[in-house]
Each structure stands twice: as structure tokens, then as C-alpha cells.
């Protein structure tokens, strides 16, 4: 069952990702991106990472795609198709993509990279629950970074107003 779901979600995710790159119109690409984000959320749930799945839907599928669409409307659309891409850039991009794919494949199948498991192993997370585990760590050990995140958001708020509001 999980394998079947994984295959379905993964295939849709790859198709959607290809759609983002290949779409002639940027708005279509943004919608493909939305589809991609949603399937990724499904994959995260299969990996037992509920918090990331929820963040994926609320922040990425919800807010980021909206921002992308707004930005597309802010730039004058219609001109987007008239970029003259130099052919060698495309060759170079394909080369880099193949190289990257090769690296990932090499690492995945040979296992040359070995990390150190942290404190939270899959078993432990299954025991306490994913969101609970994050909550407990975030609000105790990572208290300072958590509070700093609110300062960071505040900087973003002030910055957005300073740069985009007509009259200050």
C-alpha cells in the first residue's frame, strides 16, 4: 500500500517538476509547482514527517505559490516568452544536471557518505510523535533560535513596508 502510494506520488511529483521547467507560460509553471508541493507533502507523510508535510502545505503551497503568482503579475507578463537563450547555456545546464544526477546516484547506491545519527531516530520519533518531538525540542533547547525567528519575521515585516509602501 505504502509503496503503491509512493510510486503514484513520486510519478506525479516528477511530472509536475518537469512541467515547472518546461511550461511556456510562467503562470502554468507556478500551478505545476503547486501540484509538486502537494505531492511532496504526501511523500513527507509517508516518511512520517507530519510537521514538514503541514508546513509544506501551509507555507509553500499556500503562501509561496501565492507570492510567485503575485510577482508574475507585477512583472509585465507577455514579455516572458521573448528571452533569447543562448544555446550553449542550455548545453551547460544539461551537463550540470547530468553531473548532479550522477553524484546523487553515486552517493545513494555506494553509500560512501556515512553520517552520524542524531538524538532523534525514527523509532524514537514514532514513539513520541513527530510534531510532539519537534515541539519539545523547539520550545526547550532551541528556545533562543525560536525567539530569534520572531525578530527575523519582524525585520521582514518592516523591510516589506519600507521597500514597497508608497508613502512612508
Amino acid at each position: 500500500m505504502e509503496l503503491a502510494l509512493f510510486v503514484v506520488l513520486a510519478v506525479i511529483a516528477v511530472i509536475a517538476a518537469a512541467g515547472v521547467v518546461l511550461s511556456k507560460k510562467a503562470a502554468t509553471g507556478a500551478l505545476f509547482l503547486l501540484l509538486n508541493f502537494c505531492t511532496l507533502a504526501g511523500l513527507y507523510i509517508l516518511l512520517n514527517a507530519q510537521f514538514i508535510a503541514v508546513a509544506q502545505v501551509i507555507i509553500y503551497a499556500g503562501a509561496i505559490v501565492v507570492l510567485f503568482l503575485f510577482v508574475l503579475m507585477l512583472l509585465s507578463p507577455g514579455k516572458e516568452e521573448s528571452q533569447d537563450r543562448k544555446p550553449y547555456i542550455r548545453v551547460f545546464a544539461v551537463f550540470l544536471a547530468v553531473l548532479m544526477l550522477g553524484e546523487v546516484g553515486y552517493v545513494a547506491f555506494t553509500g560512501v557518505l556515512s553520517g552520524t545519527p542524531g538524538q532523534y531516530t525514527p523509532e524514537k520519533i514514532a514513539e513520541v510523535g513527530n510534531v510532539q518531538a519537534i515541539g519539545q525540542v523547539l520550545f526547550t533547547d532551541f528556545l533562543l533560535p525560536f525567539e530569534l525567528a520572531s525578530v527575523l519575521l519582524l525585520v521582514g515585516i518592516v523591510g516589506a513596508v519600507v521597500l514597497a509602501k508608497r508613502e512612508l
Binding site: 545519527p117 526547550t140 533547547d141 532551541f142 528556545l143 530569534l148 519600507v162
Partner: protein
């Protein structure tokens, strides 16, 4: 778990600065007199400095620890000395900004709020002992600076500066975060103390993960402190940003980057020294040489100072490469000296400038010695100090760093540094030649507003003071770094 176990006093200076920023932001909504906000900011900066002083005298090392002793930040000599550097930079920048903002018609309270938030981010970079804190502090600092760089919204160059800074800065943050993720993967922790323990346990192991992670981390930091070849954004950003912002970020952002990098490399990764030291040595030589050679060709003073600041990052890096106590103490001393002389030089640029900043060319400084002798004398002090002429602050900074490099066996690096200083003397002295030996093209006398004059006076005082009495400050710096090497 309760509040008293947090030991909030350890980050009291940072909290004070951030609360001041919030108050300034709220006060902005209710007051029309924006210069009041500048003085409010100065008050916060002074209180934060006093708090730092109290912590310094209190205990040797206070930890911002939450239960399970996962330390996220620390108040030790290192962070407190750096607080001094950041607070000096912020105070001088605020003083230099007051009339500049009015002149450029961008006198909004948000400026001071963002400047304080950036200062808070810098101070947190100095005290961060966890990669998560490093990252968040760096982002608070960087995003504030992106916005400040574009603060003059009517000026296209300012917008270009903000956009370029943002795009490349975000790119660098991506590298940094990726590096942090790989280091976490390799060691199973983001905490510096835990990484130290882990590396002790494994001995001289060279995990591929750790290696790549550290490399990405170095690339990210190289962008942020503008090392060649990651410096391309610097001249345009520094030239386009409002001058007071350039003054602030050319010192503050750089010092913050060195602060975090120093603690990371010397405290957490000394066992990998053999790997990162050569990478940094190459970067340092490239940075010094290219920065100075390109500065030679500049006729725009602001742009020349931008290239000069690239070159100075190269000198400071030598202290890190030496990786001994003398080198690190030299880095701290240099950063303090740099805060005075560089902000001072930009303050003079502000004083000579006019609305819209049309006169930033070298020729605009012609005859300044007769038009405004005091201002020209101050500029001469800053230029001599930047060039490393004794007995000024810049000279002793270079002296300490280069001699530390010789001690550590990097004689060639020290020689390249000295040669570069000789090259740099040419373009610093050119400004002095223009000021004193050229006939003025315009007869206008720049009018000095009192706060700006105070900023320049303080900077001169600091530059000369550090030069005439370097020993107490060097001792202070030497005491500050004990924690880095004590572990």
C-alpha cells in the same frame, strides 16, 4: 523548567538592543521628530555597552543555557569584546546618519530600528555557540542590511544596490545553510561544544560529509565578508547604498562574519585545521591583492573605499590563518581599529557630499585642506591609518596580525600582506595629495552638522588613541580570546 534557569543576563546586551529597536519602531508611529529616535537609539547602544561591561566584570564565562545544557549562545570575553566593536560601529553610524538622512530626504524612523536590529544580529553572531543561532543571527543582520541598502527609494542606484545585495546574499545564505545541514548530518548535532566532543571522539577522522559541509560553510561566509572571488557584489552595493549605511555595513557585517567564522574554525574545527587553513590562505592572498590593485584604478572615493574594505578583509583573514592566540587577538584589535577608521572615513565622505551625492569623485576633495582644514585633517588621519602608517590604529592592527602569521610559520603570507600595504598606501595617500596639493575646483566649504562632527571627532580620537596606547586594548583582546583556546 523556569525562566531563572535561562540565565538571561548572558545575552542582556543583545536583548537591550532588540527592545530598543522595538521601542524605536513604535515611537516612529507617534512622533514627527525623527532625530529623537536617533538619540533614543544611542541611549540603547550606551545601555547595552554598560551591560556588556557589567557582564565582563561579573563572571568569566556565562552561558545562555536551557535545560540539558544545550548552549545556544554565550557571553564570554570574545563576544563581549566584539560587542564593543559592534556598538562603536552602530553609535558612530547613528551619529553620522542624523543629518545625512535629512539631507537625502529619507528621514524615517524605520532606519534606526533596522540599524539596531542589524546590530543585535551582529552581537548574536559574536556570541552564538550553535549553528542554528549563527544562521538566524546572520539572517537578521543580512535582511536588515538589504533593506537599509535600498533605503533611499527615490534613488535607482540604491535600489540596484539592495537587489544585488539581496540576490547574492540569499545565495550565500543558501550555501551556508546547506553546509550547516551537512555538518549536522556528519556529527548529529548543530551545537559547537557537541561538535568538539564528537571530533575528539573520532580522532583525526575526515568524514566526507563534514568536509563538504565545512567547505560550503566557508563559501557562505566568504560571500558575506566579501573575499575574492566571492566579492563581485561589494563595489556596486557599497557605492549604491546610502553612505551612512555603507559605513555601517562595511565594518559591522564584516566584523560579524569574522566573529562567527573565528569561533567556528578555532573553537569547533581546530582538528581540521590542516584542511581549511590552506583554502583560507589562498583566499586571503587573492583578496588582498585584487582588492588593492582594483582600488588603485578608482576615482570615486566611495568605490575606492569599497575595494579597500575588500583588501582589509584579506589582512584580517591572515590573523585567522595564523590560528594562534596572537593572531586572534590581532583580529579583534584590527576589527576595533577598523571600526573607528573606516566609519570615520565614510563620515568624511558624508560631510563632503551634497544632496543626491553628486560629488564623490577624488576631484571634489581637491583643496579641502584650505576649504575645511579640520575635516581634511581628520580624513588624512583615517587615510594614514587605513594605509597602516604608524603610530595610528591601523598600523598596530597590521603589525599584530602579520607578526602572528610569522610566529605561526606563514612568513610568505606576512610578506605578501606587507607588500599589499605598500600598494595600498598609493591610493590612500592620493586622497591626501588631492586635499592638500591640488587647487580647489569649487570654493564651497562643507558645513559640518554637530552630530556628524562629533562622529568624526570620536573616530579620530579612537584611531589616534588606539595608535598611541595600543597595549591596554591588546591586553583586553588577549584576555577576550582565552575561551577559544582554553577548551
Amino acid at each position: 523548567m523556569n525562566i531563572s534557569s535561562l540565565n538571561l543576563t548572558a545575552i542582556a546586551p543583545q536583548i537591550i538592543i532588540i527592545i530598543t529597536a522595538l521601542v524605536v519602531l513604535l515611537a516612529e508611529l507617534f512622533t514627527g521628530r525623527k532625530s529623537l529616535l536617533a538619540y533614543l537609539s544611542l541611549l540603547g547602544i550606551i545601555v547595552a555597552a554598560i551591560a556588556s561591561w557589567y557582564i565582563w566584570n561579573g563572571t568569566e564565562q556565562r552561558l545562555f543555557a536551557v535545560p540539558m545544557f544545550q548552549t545556544m549562545a554565550v557571553a564570554d570575553g570574545y563576544s563581549l569584546f566584539l560587542n564593543l566593536v559592534f556598538l562603536v560601529t552602530a553609535a558612530l553610524s547613528v551619529l553620522a546618519s542624523i543629518n545625512y538622512l535629512v539631507r537625502e530626504r529619507i528621514n524615517h524612523g524605520e532606519y534606526y530600528a533596522l540599524l539596531l536590529l542589524a546590530t543585535g544580529g551582529m552581537m548574536l553572531m559574536g556570541s552564538a555557540t550553535d549553528l542554528m543561532t549563527v544562521f538566524l543571527a546572520l539572517e537578521i543582520l543580512s535582511i536588515s542590511l538589504y533593506v537599509l541598502a535600498g533605503f533611499n527609494r527615490a534613488d535607482l542606484k540604491s535600489g540596484e544596490s539592495a537587489l544585488k545585495y539581496f540576490l547574492l546574499g540569499a545565495f550565500a545564505s543558501g550555501f551556508l545553510l546547506y553546509g550547516i545541514a551537512l555538518i549536522y548530518g556528519a556529527t548529529g548535532t548543530t551545537n559547537l561544544a557537541a561538535i568538539v566532543d564528537f571530533l575528539k571522539g573520532t580522532g583525526p577522522m575526515r568524514g566526507t560529509y563534514l568536509f563538504i559541509g565545512l567547505g560550503l560553510l566557508l563559501v557562505g561566509f566568504s560571500f558575506k565578508i566579501a573575499l575574492v572571488p566571492f566579492h563581485m557584489w561589494t563595489p556596486d552595493v557599497y557605492e549604491g547604498a546610502p553612505t551612512s549605511v555603507t559605513a555601517f555595513m562595511s565594518v559591522g557585517a564584516k566584523a560579524a562574519g569574522f566573529a562567527a567564522l573565528g569561533r567556528l574554525l578555532l573553537y569547533a574545527f581546530p582538528t581540521l585545521l590542516g584542511d581549511w587553513v590552506w583554502a583560507l590562505a589562498v583566499l586571503s592572498v587573492l583578496t588582498m591583492t585584487l582588492g588593492n590593485l582594483t582600488a588603485l584604478a578608482q576615482t570615486n572615493v566611495k568605490r575606492m573605499l569599497a575595494y579597500s574594505s575588500i583588501a582589509h578583509a584579506g589582512y584580517i583573514l591572515i590573523g585567522l590563518i595564523a590560528a594562534n592566540e596572537a593572531g586572534m587577538a590581532g583580529v579583534l584589535f584590527y576589527l576595533l581599529a577598523y571600526a573607528f577608521m573606516n566609519v570615520g572615513a565614510f563620515a568624511v565622505v558624508i560631510a563632503v557630499g551634497r544632496e543626491g551625492e553628486p560629488n564623490l569623485e577624488l576631484s571634489d576633495y581637491a583643496g579641502l585642506g584650505s576649504r575645511q582644514p579640520l575635516l581634511a585633517a581628520a580624513m588624512a588621519v583615517f587615510m594614514f591609518s587605513l594605509a597602516g602608517v604608524p603610530p595610528l590604529a591601523g598600523f598596530f592592527g597590521k603589525l599584530y596580525i602579520f607578526s602572528a602569521a610569522v610566529q605561526a610559520g606563514f612568513v610568505a603570507l606576512a610578506i605578501i600582506g606587507v607588500l599589499n600595504s605598500v600598494v595600498s598606501a598609493f591610493f590612500y595617500l592620493r586622497v591626501i595629495v588631492y586635499m592638500y596639493m591640488q587647487k580647489p575646483i569649487v570654493e564651497a566649504r562643507p558645513v559640518l552638522a554637530p552630530p556628524l562632527a562629533l562622529a568624526i571627532a570620536l573616530a579620530v580620537l579612537g584611531t589616534i588613541g588606539l595608535g598611541l596606547l595600543p597595549t591596554p586594548f591588546l591586553t583586553l583582546a588577549q584576555q577576550s580570546i582565552a575561551m577559544l583556546f582554553g577548551a
